[in-house]
Amino acid sequence: MTMPPRLRKFTLTLHVTSSVGLLGAIAAFLALAVTALTSQNAQMMRAAYPAMQLIARFVVVPLGFASLLTGLIQSLGTPWGLFRHYWVLVKLLLTVFAVTVLLLKIELINYAARLATETPLPHADLRCTGIQLVVHAAGGLLVLLVPVVLSVYKPPGTTRYGWRKQFAQRPSV
């Protein structure tokens, strides 16, 4: 099933917006995580972790799902398909991996936000949690940069399934 050109452009716009927005949100999350980890100012730490929780809950997670969903619609509704080209398949796997890790780490983000409200501030625990959050945010940013590169370059290579489909669609001579 192929989408009409107008709908295709609309879903492409949604996909690019959500994917690039996700990268920007994770970059903002990483900036806060590094600031909270390196700051000696308790007020800064108390402010940063709840802000990270809000960004994760209301920006990163919705954009992650939006990126995944619009990517699925975009690939299934165009001749690219979901399993025909390696670059589309790699993008799908990386996005699913990133969203899964993100969902698994939501509890860690909530824990850091809870720690930041305690008096006195548990510096050792916050530092340990902060390091994990910085590592995961930086890793997530790197992982999600790969789909951007793949989308721009669209490296050649069809899967076996795509090869068969391509041959089946060709008119026999």
Binding site: Q43, P120, H123, P155, V173
Partner: protein, 61 residues
């Protein structure tokens, strides 16, 4: 009907990408296993920094 043409080998970029992913995964496994064992017996380095912790707690009050 004509025979289907030979399926070309896996693209080079994908092989390089797979090797890079494997190397990163291996590095992560080594780092996680290398740091999780003996570090349980070593006090967390952040807790040794009493001056910074104390100063931050003071400013928090």
């Amino acid at each position: 009907m004509a025979d289907p043409p030979f399926y070309p080998s896996t693209p080079r970029w994908l092989r390089i990408f797979a090797i890079a992913v494997g190397a990163v995964a291996l590095l992560l496994v080594v780092l996680v296993h290398g740091t999780s064992g003996p570090r349980h017996n070593i006090p967390f380095i952040g807790s040794l920094d009493h001056s910074a912790t104390h100063a931050a707690q003071e400013s928090d009050r």
